[in-house]
Symmetry: D5
C-alpha cells in the first residue's frame, strides 16, 4: 500500500513532461477546455482536477496513473514565504502592500462593509501591446461579500 | 522648528475631514483630476502629491498648511503585517498565495524571463453588476520588464 | 481639526463606562436590539456600528460625540498575536490547530471544494448546564462557498 | 528493529486507502462507532486510537500492522503554520481574530474568570440547508474551567 | 470620561509604592491573606483582584481609586517574548525546552492522554537551605484533565 | 565509516522497543537506578547516558550497539517551537507566561539578584490524589546563583 | 536635566529644515565638504558628525544646539525591517538575494577566504545617462579582509 | 518519467566538477562569453541559461544532459535567510541597513520618485589594488524607473 | 504617586550628563570603585546599583533622586533584536554563530557536560597594542557548572 | 559525477571517527599544528582546511578522500537559531544580550567609532582553576576597525 503521490511531486512531473514535449500551459488549458490561469494553478497543485480532467492531462503528457490520482486530490492551498519572495511574484505582493489600504477603502466606499471573495473568484492574465513596452494585465474578479450577520 | 507632520497623521486628518464633510474618495479624485486608486493611495500616504495637488486637497477639506506639506513629502511605502491581515486586504494576499506561481509561469511563458513592473504600474477597481451578486474587479497593469544584463 | 478617535480608544472608553455603570454586554446588545456576539465585537472595534446605533450606545453610556463617530468608523479588523495568546482566547486557537485539518476534510467531504465563509457568518455563545460543570458552547455558522471559476 | 511509523505517514496511508476504496470519513466513523470529527482528527494523527479501534480500521482498509501500531501511538498534537494558512482552515482563524476578544469578554461575563476547556471538549460539524446557500455549522463545546487557586 | 488605567501602569504604581514603603510582596500577600505567588502575579496584572482586595491593597499603599479600579479589571494574560528572555525567567523556559517532552511522556504514562491544567492550578515557590548553596524550589500543581469527548 | 546515529533516531528506536515490550519509562528508570525524569529526558535525547548505562538500556530493550553509541553522545539540547506547542507541553509554557514575572520578583525578594540554575537542577513529577480529580505535581528544584562579579 | 535628543528626531528636524529651505542633500554635503552618501547617512542618524560639522549644519539650517548635540552622538546603526521593505530600498535587498551567493563565490575566487569590509568602506551613487533611460549606479567599495587567525 | 533535476542540485554538480577540474568561475564565464557575475549567478541557479549555453557548460565540465536541462529551467530566485547570514554576504546586507535610507533619499533627489531597477540591472565586481590592502569594488547598475501611472 | 523612572530613561539621562560633563565610563567606574564593564552595563540598565552607589553616581552627575531610585531598581535584562543588529554588537554575535559549536565541543571536552555560567561571570575589555592595528580583547570568564542532578 | 559531500556530513563523519578512536579535539589540533578553537571550528565546517591539512586529518582518522575534499571546501558560515538555543551556547548569547551595549560603549570610548573585527580575529578558551569551582575563560581578540570613508 502506498500513499498518494504528493501534489508537489505530481506538479514537478507535469512540468517536466510539459517542457520535454515542448507544450505550453496554454496548450494544456486548451486540451482541457479550461481557463488558462485555473489550469496552470491546478496543475501546479492549487486546485483539484476532476478525475476525467486528470486522466486527459496524464494521457496527453504520457504520465502514469499515480500522477492522475494526485492531480485529483484535494489540495492544501498556498505558497511558502520563500516562494512568495521570487521577484516575479513579489511585485504583486509589493503592489498590495502599497495599494491594499486604498483598495480596502474603495471597496467599502463602493460596496459597503465587506470583501472581494477569493473563492467565488477568477484571475485572468493577458498581454497588452504598448509602444513603450508591452504590459502584463492581470485581472482579479471576485464576488463582493458583505459582512452579513 | 518642528518636524514635518508624519504622513500617517496627515492621512488620519484627511480621512477625518473627508468623512465629516461627507465626501467620497471618488469626489476627491475628481477634485484633483487624478485616477481614483492613485488618489486614494496618495492621500493614505503611499505617494507624494505635487505641491499644487496637496494645496488643492487641503483647501477643499479645510486642512492647514502642515497637512499639505506632509502630503507632498516623499513616502516610505508599504503596509505593516498587521494591516495586511485585515480580511478585506487579506483576500488579495490569499489569492496571490494560491495563484502567484501560476501567474509567474504564465508571465514567463508569454513574455520570457522577467517581471510585471510594480512601478510603471496602475491599478484600477470597478464594480461589475452580476445577477448572482455584483463583483469587485481589480486590474493590475504593469509594464513587462525582462531580465536584461 | 482632529483625527477621528482610534477605535481601540473608543473601545476602552465604552468598556470603562460599561463597567462603572454596572452594565453587561448583554444589556448593551439588548439596548441595540442586536445579536450579543456581534454587539460585543462591534463595541470592541471589529465592526462598524450604524450612526444611529453608535449614538444610542453613547447616549446610554454617557459618552460624547467623538466616541460615536469612532464607533461608526470602518475598522481594520483582527487581533495582534499578543492578544491571541491570552489563555481564554488561545484555547480556541489550540482547538483549531488540533481539529482544523479534520474540519477541512469534512467540509470537503460534505460540501465539495470550498470554504465556510467568515463574512456571511454568525457566531453565537451560550451556557449549557451540565452536572459535571457547565459548558461553553460556541457555534460558528457560515455560508458554504465553493471554489467557483 | 524499526521505529514506529510516524503518524503523518500512517495518516497518508489511511487517506490513500480511504480514497481508493471510495470510503467517506463518515463511513469510517460509523465503522468505529465513534464521533465524526473525533474519528477524522484521530485518523489524521491528532488523537491516539485504542488498539482495538486501530486494528478495526486497518482491517477495514486493508492496511498492515505497522499502521495500526502508529494509529495507537500517543500524538504530538497541533498543525504547522503552513497548514493553518490553507484557505478552508484560515477562515476559522480569521473568525477567531475578529471575534476572539468578544468571546473572551462574554465568557467572563457569563461564567467569571476562566476558559472554555480545549481538552474536555467536543467539536461537531453539520450542514444546515438554507435557501441562500447551505451553511457550515461548527460547534465548539467545552467545559468551563475557572481560574481556581 | 476616562478609560480605566491600564493594568501595566497600575502594576508600576503598586511596585513603586511597595518599594518606597519598604514592603515585600510577602507582606502584601499577608495583608490580603492570599497565596504569595497568586498575589504577586495579580498585582503585576495577571489576575483580577476582587474589589474588596483591590481597595485593601490601595489603602495599604496609599494609592488612589483609579489603581484599585484597574486591579479589579479582567486581564489579558501573558508576557511578551522580550519579558520571557530575562535570564531569571528564561531558565524556566530552558528547563521546559529540555524536560518538556519527558514531562509529556510521563504525564501520559501515569495519567493517560491529557494535560496538567494551567487554570485549575497553583504555583508555589520556596527556599530550601542546602550546604552547597540554597535552592529555589518551584512547584507547579495542576489538575489532570483527560481528553474526553 | 558511518556517522553516529542521530539522537532523535535513537530515541525513536528506544520508544518503539519500549512500547512493543510493554515497558514503562518508570521501569527503564528503575532498571538504570536513575531518577525518573532524568532517565526519560536522557532516553529522549536531552542528556548523555554513561556508556555503561547506554549498554544496559540497549541490552534490556534488545537494541544494537549503534543505539548505545548514540545514547552516550553529548546532545544539542532543546525542543523545536513545534514541539513546544503540543497542548500537554504548552500548558507549562502558558503558566510561565502568566507567572514568570511573579516568580522573578519573588526570587529577587527572597534570594537577591540572581537566578534559579537550570543546570544544577532537578525536576520531579508525581501524582497527587485529590477527590476533585488527581493532580499533576511538577517540582523544579535548582540552586540559586547570584549575579556575582 | 534632559536626555539628548534621539537621533531619529534630530534627523526629522534636519530633513524638515532642509525641505523648507529648498536645500538638497548635495548642497549640505558641499557645505560640509564631505562625501555625499556619507553626509546623507550621517544626517539621517547612521554616523556621528564631528562637533564642528554638527554645528556648521545646524547653523546653516537654523537648528538649535540640541540638534547639533544629537548629530554628534554615537549612533546605534541599522534600519528596521519595515524601512527595508520600502520599494526603493527593497530592490537593493532583492539584488543581494539574487547575486549574493555569486558575489561570495567571486570574492573567494579572487581574494581567498574573507569578506569585503562594511566598515573600511565607502558608497557612491551617480547618474549615468543612457538613451534607454538614465541609470542609477551605486558603487560599494570596501577593503578586503581575509580570515586571519 | 523523472522530474527535472532541481537547480540547487545542478549547481552542486557544476561546482563539484568545476573544483575537481581546477576551473575558475572566470574561466567558465569566458567559455560562455558571458559576464562574470551573471555567469556565476546563473550557474548557481539564479538565472536560466540558454539551451546552447547550458550544453556548452556541461560539455566543458563533463556533466550529463540532466544537468543541462536543469540549468535551462526558469528559476525561483532568491536566497534563504540562512544563506544571507554568511559573513561574506551579510556585510552587503549590513551596508544596506546603514546606507539604504541615504541611497533612497539621493535617488529621489537626483531622479525623482522611483527606484533603481533590479531587473534591467547588472552587477560587476573587481579588485582594486590599494597600498592599505586591496579592495572589493562592487557596482550595482540599474535603470531608473519612475513611479508612472 | 508616580511610577519609578524606567531604567532606559535613567540610562539616557546618565549618558547625557556624562557626555555634557566630558566624563568617560572609565571615570565613572573609578568613581564607584567598581569594574569597568560592570559599571557601564549597570548604568545602561542591566544591573541594579546599590543604593549608595546610585546616590554617588547621581551626585557626581548632578542628577536628581528619581534617577538614583531607578538605577537601584531590579532590571529586566537583555537587549532587543534591533539593538543586537548594530554592527559593533553584531560582530560578537557573528563570532558566536561561527565559533559557538566549537566552544561547546571544547567545554564538554575539557570540563564534561555543562555550561559556562553567565551569572557567576565577569567580562573584561582591553586594548592590546599591535603594529598591524590595535586589538579589542574581550574576555568572558564564567564558572563552569556541570549538569548535576 | 557526484556533488561534494556537504560539510555538515563531513563534520559528522569526523566526529564519529574521533569519538570511536578516543581522540580529543586537542589531539587533532596538535596533529595539525593549528590553534585549538580554529581546528575544532574548521572540522565542524566553519573554516576551509588547506588541502594538505584535510588530507592529514583524514589519514589520521581513517576517513576517505570524499571527506577531505569536503573539509577543504569554502563554507557557508553560521549556525541555525536552533543550534544557538543549546544551553551551553546560549549562555554566550545571553551574556552578549546583557553586556553588548556596554561593550559597544567602551569600544567607542577607547578606540573611537568602529568595531572589533570578527574576521581578523581569534578565539581562545582555557580552564582557570578556582577554589570555588574552575572557570571557563574565553577570549575574543579582534583587530579594531574604524569607520573610515
Amino acid at each position: 500500500m502506498k500513499p498518494i503521490l504528493p501534489k508537489d511531486e505530481a506538479a514537478a512531473l507535469v512540468d517536466a513532461a510539459r517542457i520535454r514535449q515542448g507544450l505550453t500551459w496554454a496548450e494544456l488549458a486548451d486540451h482541457l477546455g479550461a481557463p488558462l490561469v485555473w489550469t496552470t494553478a491546478a496543475l501546479l497543485g492549487q486546485h483539484p482536477l476532476g478525475t476525467e480532467q486528470a486522466d486527459r492531462i496524464c494521457e496527453r503528457l504520457g504520465l502514469d496513473e499515480a500522477v492522475a490520482e494526485s492531480l485529483a486530490l484535494q489540495p492544501h492551498r498556498g505558497s511558502s514565504p520563500e516562494v512568495m519572495r521570487d521577484p516575479t511574484i513579489y511585485r504583486f505582493s509589493e503592489a498590495l502592500s502599497v495599494y491594499g489600504p486604498a483598495l480596502k477603502a474603495l471597496i467599502h466606499e463602493e460596496f459597503g462593509d465587506g470583501i472581494m471573495s477569493a473563492i467565488n473568484f477568477t484571475v485572468d492574465i493577458e498581454r497588452r501591446p504598448d509602444p513603450d513596452g508591452d504590459r502584463v494585465v492581470v485581472t482579479f474578479d471576485g464576488k463582493f461579500l458583505d459582512y452579513r450577520w
